[in-house]
Amino acid sequence: MSEKRSGVFGKLRDAVKQVTYGMALHSQVTGVLKTRMYIEHLFTLMILGDMLGLPILPPYYSLRLLPYTIPSIKSWKHRFYRERDFTDIIYG
């Protein structure tokens, strides 16, 4: 979101803008992020497949692509190991 405004009207304008974003777009953004998350999971699996015993890509390409995976490994591990339940997937 943009920088916070000062003054009563500025704050009110900010609040209305944020509520509008929350109502109109936030669930859509969350849904798109989740779609991206699943694609990233697939990408990570392809790159790290060797370590799991799944030779999906030849090691040469895995190593070339590894730097692109490294930044998201931490959050991937967190999501991967977290218990998932049917009540977690209302928005995809």
């Binding site: 979101m1 900010d14 609040a15 944020q18 509520v19 509008t20 974003y21 929350g22 109502m23 109109a24 777009l25 936030h26 669930s27 859509q28 969350t30 849904g31 798109v32 992020l33 989740k34 779609t35 991206r36 998350m37 959050s75 967190h78 999501r79 977290r82 218990e83 339940d85 049917f86 009540t87 977690d88 997937i89 209302i90 928005y91 995809g92």
Partner: protein
């Protein structure tokens, strides 16, 4: 004109009570029971992953929570409750707003925040036991079936009476495809795309109203407008299947985004229309009280009233949203009240303004199509008068259709994932197949629709919806007792809702059983099925509702028993209060 006999009075008193609920009761509970600490890290900070867990400002989350919980429940429930007069409906809405509705949304949100952002399933597993999670899974499966049935029924009859709304819906679908393509593929500026989408929607309303083809009831078997035995069901189910099967950004994401704009305009228009009623001369047309007995289909005031008005008073769906999504994005604990309680009280306002639209007409028979007519009567005097009335009625009919379609497409996706969860690895794994599950999710509910009796379907849906709310309230009480905190503010409404809803489901099972065993028609429209396929087909349709009702009742009783056990265990547990 007496001001007390206008919708203004209902809305004004209601808003005062809501203010009391937010700034009085909810603040007291917040301070005394949950004691939010702005310094305590929330799951959004502890487990930030940028996808599910990330901090979001309170205003954004409030808007998101409200948008996620708003559906047809608060709009249609008051219509059935008018069987008992407007006063019981009004009293239940404000009573629930003060003591029950926000309690569930806010407490479920806080419960999840204090438990690592866990959703309803893991919370039930942890606080009650493994059987509770299995029961919940089965319960949700039938719950979705009933929501789909109730909403598909409404869409079918509204389109049947207002065919203009179908063409507007078609414009929405086309606009959604175009928007999805322009935003995600062409990467066009969102403001320009929004302007284009809204322009298409306006064109849809105008074209739909002027085109007005075919005449109402012409696609209905039997030819009587307003019957659910309509061929409109076919294109509606096709649109729902597309939404359920296509990738989210292709249809659902842009469709829900565009549909937001007419929905918010409708809510504002209804509120202004109700508050302006002393000036426009619109009066209450429904008697204040008609008696406790109700009809054979509805049953007596208790328990029918308390399940008829669902989301406008309290709804179990909200606990799924509070625990599954919002709790993972709460920035600080002190935001829980504006997000959980604030969004619910806004939803209560939607229920109140919907009641205002229902009470200005006095129809012979309760039907979903009364709402757009009442809303038009309420709003037309401040928005162009008689000349604009046809456009306004199209607008309010698409308001209902959009509210239903947007939630149905999401439920369709959810349903097929739950089906896959239930049937994968079993001999019936074909039922978990993406295509088979999607078709079943929208075709099975049509068996309910063919009962022709909106009241019974709605009360079934309301019963299961409020029962889920009862579960959520009691699970919160179990947690609070484990923490040695006062739980009565959540436990009493929870027990009340569970007993009431189980009674309501039991009564509806009785109604369907009588109809099945005595070869009785639940609604005159079932004559069409009787003439086409014989009384056996009518009994089969009604019997299907009996089976589903019995399963829901058994699951509900089993869950109730588990919750009571968990409550007694929690009382005996010696857990130190959370620091």
């Amino acid at each position: 004109m007496a001001i007390h006999n206008t919708p203004f009075t209902l809305v004004a008193i209601g808003l005062l009570i809501y203010a009391l609920a937010y700034w009085g009761y909810s603040r007291a509970i917040d301070r005394k029971i949950w004691q939010p600490d702005p310094a305590r890290p929330t799951p959004a900070h502890m487990y930030t992953d940028g996808v599910e867990f990330f901090p979001v400002g309170r205003y954004v989350l409030y808007g998101f929570q409200f948008n996620s919980i708003a559906a047809l429940g608060p709009i249609l429930g008051p219509g059935i409750a008018l069987i008992f007069g407007w006063l019981p409906a009004f009293l239940w809405i404000i009573f629930a707003a003060l003591l029950i509705g926000w309690v569930q949304d806010y407490s479920a949100l806080f419960l999840s925040v204090r438990n690592e952002g866990k959703s309803f399933g893991p919370l039930a597993y942890e606080l009650i036991g493994p059987t509770a999670r299995k029961l919940l899974l089965g319960f949700l499966l039938f719950y979705f079936l009933l929501i789909n049935a109730a909403f598909i029924f409404v869409v079918a009859v509204v389109i049947d009476v207002f065919p203009s709304s179908f063409w507007s819906l078609l414009f929405l679908v086309v606009a959604a495809f175009i928007t999805g393509h322009l935003v995600f593929n062409v990467r066009m500026n969102i403001l320009a795309v929004t302007a284009l989408a809204i322009a298409l929607l306006v064109v849809g309303i105008v074209v739909g109203t002027l085109f007005a083809w075919p005449p109402p009831g012409s696609l209905t078997l039997g030819g009587k407008p307003g019957s659910p035995y309509t061929l409109w069901l076919v294109p509606v189910v096709i649109i729902l299947l597309l939404g359920s099967l296509l990738p989210l950004p292709r249809l659902i994401t842009p469709m829900n985004y565009i549909a937001y704009y007419p929905v918010i305009v409708a809510i504002i228009a209804l509120t202004v229309g109700a508050l302006a009623s002393p000036l426009t001369g619109i009066e209450l047309a429904v008697p204040a009280f008609k008696g406790f007995e109700g009809t054979f289909g509805s049953g007596p005031l208790w328990p029918a009233l308390f399940v008829a008005i669902a989301c406008g008073a309290i709804s179990g769906w909200h606990s799924l949203i509070s625990t599954g999504i919002s709790s993972r994005q709460l920035d600080v604990e002190t935001d829980a009240r504006p997000v959980g309680a604030g969004a619910m009280l806004t939803e209560n306002t939607v229920g109140l303004t919907a009641l205002a639209a229902w009470v200005v007409l006095a129809p012979e028979r309760v039907s979903p199509v009364i709402f757009p007519q009442g809303a038009t009567k309420l709003v037309a005097p401040i928005a162009g008068g008689e000349a604009a009335a046809p456009f306004i009625s199209t607008f309010f009919s698409i308001y209902m259709v959009f509210m239903a379609i947007t939630i149905l497409t999401i439920l369709g996706r959810y349903w097929r994932v739950v089906m896959a969860e239930v049937f994968s690895g079993t001999s019936l794994s074909i039922l978990g197949n993406k295509y088979v599950a999607s078709v079943l999710g929208f075709v099975l509910p049509i068996a309910f629709v063919l009962t022709g009796s909106w009241i019974n379907i709605w009360l079934y849906f309301g019963g299961t919806n409020q029962l889920l709310a009862g579960f959520a309230l009691t699970i919160v009480a179990v947690y609070l007792l484990q923490q040695r905190k006062s739980a009565s503010y959540s436990l009493i409404p929870g027990i009340f809702m569970m007993i009431t809803t189980l009674a309501a489901i039991a009564y509806q099972v009785y109604v369907f059983t009588v109809a099945t065993s005595q070869a009785m028609l639940l609604h005159p429209t079932q004559n069409i099925l009787k003439e086409a396929a014989g009384i056996g087909a009518v009994q089969a349709v009604n019997g299907f509702s009996v089976v589903v009702g019995v399963i829901m009742f058994i699951l509900g009783i089993a869950m109730f028993a588990l919750l009571l056990k968990a409550l007694s265990r929690a009382k005996a547990a010696a857990v130190k209060p959370a620091q």
